[in-house]
């Protein structure tokens, strides 16, 4: 894969945890941001990024190439990762 998948998550959200666990279990290397743990300035930038990508502030968000998956959805993850 050219670009590593990127996960936007909240540290307290169990669905975000499941998405990360799913990627880990499938040995997918990805970048991850726990948005709630960022400092204020950085958080604003990242939230803007997420809103541009998805039109809302819902978590988790997984970016895999041109696929953007909002919420924990193993079927969509498999499809986008071709696994």
């Amino acid at each position: 894969m050219k670009n590593k998948p990127k996960v936007y998550a909240l540290s307290t959200c169990p669905y975000c945890k499941r998405t990360k666990r799913f990627l880990d279990e499938h040995k997918i290397v990805y970048d991850c941001v726990d948005v709630d743990l960022l400092d204020d300035a950085k958080q604003d930038d990242v939230l803007e990024e997420i809103e541009k990508l998805t039109g809302k502030r819902s978590f988790p968000v997984v970016v895999i190439g041109s696929d953007i998956i909002v919420g924990h959805d193993e079927e969509k993850l498999r499809k986008a990762l071709k696994i």
Partner: protein, 136 residues
């Protein structure tokens, strides 16, 4: 004898005022009929207020969600425990039991959040985080 100055009690969790029932007195523990929080009744200069006797404890949030579900006839599913852990994480990091799946830490997102209290479970079958569910 203690006489109620106002006939409503302010709940610091859902920020609503609920009806004072006959026979209640200062020091009594009552359940907020709107959010399920256990409150200790106190009489203040502005009338009756409820305080949170176990503020910020695990027991407080577990009891609150159980009491809220019972009041509304909602049920939980297998995500319950993980969501409770999320609520505890919110309290540790952000000072109170805010929705674990939301970014914002504002009073209206104190669990059970305002959209939930406003009927989200009836409308969508579940609350935003999927903690409370409509009975199947």
């Amino acid at each position: 004898m203690i006489v109620a100055k106002a006939e409503r009690i302010y709940c610091p969790v859902c920020q609503a005022r609920f009806k004072f029932l006959e026979g209640w007195k200062a020091g009594d523990a009552v359940i907020c009929p709107i959010c399920g929080q256990t409150l200790r009744l106190e009489s203040g200069s502005e009338g009756w207020v409820g305080t949170r006797p176990e503020k910020g404890t695990e027991h407080e949030i577990r009891e609150r969600i159980d009491q809220y579900a019972k009041l509304k006839g909602y049920v939980f599913n297998e995500m319950r425990e993980e969501l409770v852990q999320g609520l505890l994480g919110k309290n540790r990091r952000f000072g109170d039991f805010y929705c674990p799946c939301r970014m914002e830490h504002v009073p209206e997102y104190q669990c059970p959040c305002k959209p939930t209290r406003g009927g989200d479970v009836e409308r969508n079958g579940k609350c935003y985080c999927g903690l409370f569910w409509r009975k199947p």
